[in-house]
Amino acid sequence: MGLLLCCQAVELTVSRKSGKVKLLNAVAAHDVGCAVNPEMVRGQIYGGMAMSAGYALHEEVKAPGGKMTTLNLNTYRIPRSMDLPEMKVIIVENPDPVSPTGAKSIGEPANEILAPAIANAIFNATGQRHFSSPIKLGAQPEPTACEEGCK
C-alpha cells in the first residue's frame, strides 16, 4: 500500500474573557492518489474537517455514574454552520501503484487531523497544552506587561 500523506491547518482566535474559540480559516491538503469524483472527494474532506472541529471543541459523551446523559442532539453538540470557518481543500494526486485505480483512502484521514491542528493553534494563542478533547478553556489570564509591550 502506498503512503498516504495529508496536512491540515487552522487559524483561530481565543476570547480572553470567556475562553471561547472561534475558527477563522481552515485549509486541508490531502494526497488522495486519484480523485475519481473530485466534488465527492472535496465533500469527504470538508465533512471530515467539520467532524474533527466538533471533536476538538464541542462533542462529549457524558455518563456520570455510568448513566448516559447525552441522549440526543440537544445535549450532544455537533458543529453547526456558524461554528465552522470557510474551508479550503487542496487535492494532491499521487497515484498508488498497488490499487487498481490509483486511488487512496480519504474518509478517515480527513477526519482526525484538524483536532490536533486546533490544539496546536490554541497552544500558539494561549501557551497551554491540551491533551484531551473536547478542549475546554476558561477565562484567560490578563496580558502581561511584556505581551502588551510586544503588541
Binding site: R42, G43, Y46, G47, A50, M51, N72, L73, N74, I78
Partner: protein, 185 residues
Amino acid sequence: MKLFVNNKEIEVPASAMEKRIVEFLREDLDLTGAKNACDIGACGACTILVNDEPSRICIKLVKDFGGQRILTIEGMAAPDGTLHPLQQAFLDCGAIQCGYCTPGMVLTGHAFLLKNSHPTRDQIRQAIFKNLCRCTGYQQIIDAIEKAAPHYQREERGLQAASAPEKQTATKNSKATTLAKGEAG
C-alpha cells in the same frame, strides 16, 4: 379540517387530528421527504415550509396547521420531474452525501432565498444555522445556495417586470378616460 399540501387540498380525518404532523405526512400521505430524526426539534431534518416560513414539524400536531399552505420537498420539483434550480445546484455542488438533512436544507435555503436573493456567504451560514448536517461540513451546501441565488434574482425581476406594465397600462387608461371626459366636456 383542510390542509393545502404541495398545492393540493387535503381533507384531514378527525382521527388524525391529534397525530404529529410529521407522522401524518409520512404515514398517511406517503410524503417521506421530511425526516423524523431527533424527535425534539433540535436538528431540522423535519423542516417543511408553512406559508413560506420554515417550520420544524416533529414537535407539532396536525390540528395546529388548519388551512395553512404547506410545501414539502416533494413539491419543489416540477410536476414532470424537472428538478428545481436549487435542487439542481445541490446536485451540481456535491452538497448531498447521506441525504438525511437535504430536504430540510433545501427548504430552509428556498425560504431564505425567497426573502433575500442577494445573500452573502455569512448570511447563508446564519440562515441554515438551525439545520444540522454531519457529512458535508456545510461548505458545499452554502456553495449550492449561493449558486442558486441568480435564479431567484431572475424570478424577482420577472415579477417586477410583470407588475410594472400593469401600472403603465393603468395610468394610460386613466389618461384616456380623462381625455375622453375632456372631449365630452
